[in-house]
Every structure is written in C-alpha cells, then in structure tokens.
Amino acid sequence: MTLMTKAGVEPLRIAPEAIEEAAKLLYIRALKVLPDDIKQGFTRLDAGETDGTAKAILATMIENIGVAERTDNLLCQDTGIPIFNVEIGREVEMDGWALKQAIRRGTERATKEHPLRSSVVHPITRKNEHTSCGAHVPVINLDFVEAERVVRLEMIPKGSGSENGSFLQMLIPADGVAGVKRFVVDAAMKAGGKVCPPIIMGVGVGGTSDLCMHLAKVAATRPLGSRCADPEGAALEDGLSEAVNSLGIGPQGLGGDSTAFAVHVEVAATHITMNPVAVNIQCHSARRASATFTPDGVTIGF
C-alpha cells in the first residue's frame, strides 16, 4: 500500500455535513453581502465619475448595498447559476463523491429554507425543480493547491444578465493580439447596458475553446485589485480597462465614465495554429463568498 500522507502529519478531514452547511451558508451570504474589494471599487468609480446621470445611478447602487445589509435581504433578485470553486490543498483526505453531494444538498437547502428563487431550469423542457439544481448544476470546479491541510470553498451566484454577455472567437495566429483587443472592445459594445454595468470584464486568451471560456469566467470573478500572474496578460489588463472605459457606455448603459471596474485577463498556452479569445462578464453585483477549512476550524470570508 502506498503511503498517501506525510509521516507524522495528521491529514485534514472534513465531514460532508460541514461542507453542506458551508455551501448553504455561502450561497445565502454571497447573495446578501458584497465583498470589500467591490465596495471599494464603487467608491473609486464614484470619485472619478463626471456624468450626472451616472453619478446618480452609482449612488443608488451604493445605497442598495446598505439596504441589503440593513434589511438582511438579497442585493439582487437574480440568485444566479450557483458555482462552487473548490481548492484542495495537500495532506487532505476527502471523499470526492460525498463532497459533490454535500454541495448539492447545501444548495437545495439554501433555496428551500431561506427561501430563494430557483433560477435553474431544464434547458429543453424549461422545467424548474425549485432547488437551484439540475444536470451539472451547481457547477463545481475542482483545483489542487500546494498549501497543506487547507480546503477552500468559494461560492459564486452567477447572474444571467451578465452571463448572457459571453463571447468566444477562435481567432487565428495572423489576427495577433490586435485581434484579441478588437474582440474585447467590440464585446463591450455589444453587451452595452444589458450586462448591468459597471462590470468586471473577464477575458480568456489561449487554451482550447472550453478552457478559454473558463479562463474568462475565472478572470471575471477574481477580486478587484488582483492581477494576471502572466506579465503579458497583466499589461493587457491595463490597456483594455482604459479602452473599455473610454467608450462612454456608463452605468446601466446610460452613459458615463464608469463602464468597468476593471478588465481582468487570464491566459493559457495554446496551439501553434490557434488564437482563441473569450469574454465573460460579471455585473456590478459581483457576489462571492468563501469558507476556508483548516485544522483550526472554518473561516468565512469573500
């Protein structure tokens, strides 16, 4: 038998019941409390906004954040498609199947016990099971990290107005990075006010078609202030943020400087014949919540 864990290190073990409770709590919390980086993003946009209508709209959005917290209510009626990102560190023992079931049960319980609107339907019959669950939903993304004895569960209720602002193009190498930039600017224009700006625009560059789209989602849901780890990607973020905000789409598409909190980029290596680019958009209700499990217990955050 292979020794799975380091000698002398007691692995982190998490009961499925704890995952279920966390999944339920995170779904509800994410819908009610915006992360600090997003609140700061609003303050920054408001300070720089020069258009009167845009300023009034930003003020209403900021007021809503306070009303949601004071009345313990949802920020937005769109409970979204539930997404759970699970990061599993080293020296962790988990029953993966039980983890998936626990996340699903937590999602169902949040929906029924709060109650929340189930925004999830069968794609062909359009039948709503009123559980926020269905085939492949909640979406669960798994990743493994180097840190020892830690599991992080991140919940993102992805609203549909901004998710409908998703674009993919399999550009070719001859289109170059110029083609990527043009695609992003045009995507912002097509999305306009429909995606509930100010937005975080997520851009995936490279990979396969599905990886590229996934990268765009990762980029769109990253905290404000975070940067692309790749220096070329990070440089692209600056230029594209400036370009998108120079268009004048503004909050709600009614004009102004505050179109995007930021443009985030994620990159993946791609094929010599390929140059894929994808855009996924996060609306101003950029909701996230997380639970971090360590041997010391659970920490709830964003």
């Binding site: 769109d78 109650p115 609107r117 925004s119 609203g159 549909s160 930039k181 509930c196």
Partner: protein
C-alpha cells in the same frame, strides 16, 4: 427634466407628456412579467384574467415566500426580494403587450430596441429605466403581492404588486422617438476608432 407621479392605470395623454430625461414615481399597482410569461401569452396563446389596460409592467421574477392567504397577501405569497431583469430579451413582446393587453409602461433595465421605440411612438407607450441590481431597495417600494396569474410558470408568473412611491424611475424611451440608449450607443460607436487606436489596433 420634470418629475411626474403617476397613479396606475394611466391614460395615453399622461404618457405622451413624458420626455426622455424626466423622472417618474409610480403609485398603486404594478404587474410583474418576464420571458416565460410572455412566451406563453403571445407564442402559446394563453390569456390572463388580469386587465392590464393603461398599466405598467416590470421585467421581473421575484423571490417569494409561500404564506397563508390573508388580508394583504391574497396571492398566497409575500415578497422576499423583487428586482428587475434585462429587458432586451423581451424586445419582440413590446408591441403585442401594448396592442393586445393595452399596457402603457414597461419598466426594465438595459433598454429596448427600435421596434419597441416605434411601438411606443405609434401606440403611446414609454420605457422607464430602473437601476438593475438594486433589488433590496426596490423591494422596499412594494407593499404586497396582491394576486398572481399563470402561476404554473412560477417564478415567471404574472404578478400583481401593490406599490407605494415606486421610483424615481428614469424616462429612457419616450413616445416621441426619444431613446437615451440609442443616444449613448451612437456616442459609443463614434468613440470606437479612438479606443482601438490607443490600443495600437488599426
């Protein structure tokens, strides 16, 4: 830029008095409607028992809690959180909503397109913009869910809300061909070349 208070239902003359840039606060009654509601009403031939003549509809599907039917909640539901969805998907239903049901006001976010603007001009209608993603605030403007129809489509049922001081809402498309969205889109189009040039894209 004038502020108007409208008690629902309203008349064509009241709608014709609204101009883009004006603000409006609605009183009394508001109907909630969405994709599935309108697909069933206009594509599948279903009818509602509600009289929507002269009324306002809002593009929404609320979060609700089931309750015993009582005085203020005859629908059997009370509001948890009521907000507004993106209007653009429901563009093709504007004209039938107005022609068949007599609706005069559509409330939504993100705007509607050319065909809706023409319907507003010809039939006397208006689009009022609410701030998307501000549902906690919006919920405080709704007093009760008075009634519900087509509830097999829940949460995309046809809802009747009792409202108080619902707004201020921005007149973003009026009955005289004015559209703030079209104005902004033209400006954005005009700025595209400069944005690309700055990025070094020909």
């Amino acid at each position: 830029m004038t502020h108007h208070t409208l008690h629902m239902p309203c008349t064509e003359a009241q709608i014709r008095a609204l101009r883009v840039g004006d603000t409006v606060t609605l009183q009394d009654t508001l109907f909630g409607i969405r994709d599935a509601t309108q697909i069933h009403m206009f594509d599948h031939g279903r009818r509602t028992r509600f009289d929507l003549k002269g009324h306002a509809v809002i593009h929404t599907a609320p979060n609700v809690r089931k309750v015993d039917k009582r005085g203020t909640n005859d629908s059997g539901y009370e509001a948890v959180c009521i907000g507004t969805t993106t209007s653009d998907r429901m563009e093709r239903f504007t004209r039938p909503l107005m022609e068949r049901e007599g609706v005069r006001i559509i409330i939504g976010k993100g705007g509607l397109r050319e065909d809706s603007l023409r319907a507003f001009q010809e039939l006397g209608g208006v689009y009022l913009a609410i701030i998307g993603g501000t549902a906690a605030l919006e919920t405080t403007w709704i007093e009760a869910i008075e009634d519900v129809d087509l509830d097999d489509l829940n949460p995309e049922s046809l809802w009747r809300f009792r409202i108080r001081d619902f707004g201020p809402l921005l007149v973003a498309m009026d009955s005289h061909g004015g559209s703030l969205y079209a104005e902004v889109q033209q400006k954005v189009q005009d700025r595209r070349a400069a944005a690309l040039a700055k990025l070094g894209v020909a």
